[in-house]
């Protein structure tokens, strides 16, 4: 029985995620879509979010990747994510744990904090940027 359990829990079924709020890493199942951080007890979404049309939201919080497609337009106070791909237009403060990719002809207006930034030719950026700086040095985010 124990051999069967070992076979079931293969390491490739697990992924390491970093809590958006406390910045601590933990191992979770790849199939998990939400979880509660075992360190700070905050609720975390793990799924990727794709935005294909206009969306106005107060917050977009996910440990996954936020993708704003070419015809997508986001108006948000805060986007807290594991990574961001902008092909359309974004207005709001972006705090990303992973790379922020701004496609050609995309538009990002607002402050951006990310470890890596990639910008396509023709992209429009306006805001205060913190790139490659340790996010936990200044990040004290409290979910509403």
């Amino acid at each position: 029985m124990s051999n069967l359990n070992e076979a079931q829990y293969r390491p490739e079924d697990r992924q390491t995620i970093v809590c958006l709020y406390c910045g601590r890493a933990q191992d979770v199942s790849r199939r998990a879509m939400t979880l509660t951080c075992k360190f700070c007890s905050k609720s975390l979404k793990l799924e990727d979010i794709t935005i294909k049309n206009y969306e106005a939201r107060r917050h977009i919080d996910t440990c996954g990747i936020v993708v704003v497609e070419k015809k997508g337009q986001v108006n948000a106070d805060r986007i807290l994510c594991g990574g961001l791909v902008a092909r359309g237009r974004i207005r709001g403060t972006i705090m990303s744990r992973g790379p922020v990719l701004v496609g050609p002809e995309a538009e990002v207006r607002g402050d951006v904090s990310a470890p890596i930034l990639a910008v396509g030719a023709g992209a429009v950026l306006h805001g205060f940027y913190r790139i490659g700086v340790d996010p936990d040095a200044d990040r004290a985010v409290a979910p509403d």
């Binding site: 951006v112 890596i116 910008v119």
Partner: protein, 137 residues
């Protein structure tokens, strides 16, 4: 020391320190230290070992070293992986390599250099938090 491509006809060597206003035609490779102001229609390259604290107006700026100040480029600004930059940046195109570190106000886009900020714009406060400068309509 000579530039085989001929792109950077002016070189400030690693043991040189320059203070004041500097203008040139083609290109400058900075390997030493520079404090002041640069105005050119050419290219500026700040090499890995160089340090610069200056307001720069150029066509293209390539940063590999430590830079503070306001940069404005009509064409592009490239931040290489070893770049450490703090200041306000205005350019048509921005290229950021993985590993580059920069903090400051960014204005990038085909029309950005036309509405570039004045040279005397305030330096960003390193203690400033994200979320303070985003324009809202």
């Amino acid at each position: 020391m000579a530039d085989p491509t001929g792109e950077f006809t002016t070189v400030i060597g690693p043991d040189a320190k320059f203070e004041g206003k500097l203008s040139f035609e083609k290109g400058l490779r900075l390997q030493g230290q520079l404090n002041g102001e640069i105005s050119t229609a050419g290219k500026l390259q700040v090499t890995k070992e160089a340090q610069m604290d200056a307001n720069v107006d150029a066509s293209a700026i390539i940063i590999e070293g430590k830079v503070k100040g306001n940069l404005s480029a009509t064409d592009r600004i490239e931040l290489k992986s070893s770049a450490r930059y703090e200041g306000n940046l205005t350019a048509s195109k921005l290229v950021v390599e993985e590993g580059a570190v920069f903090v400051g106000q960014v204005s990038v886009g085909p029309d950005a250099p036309k509405g570039k900020p004045s040279a005397g714009i305030a330096r960003p406060n390193p203690a400033a938090q994200p979320g303070q400068g985003a324009p809202r309509t």
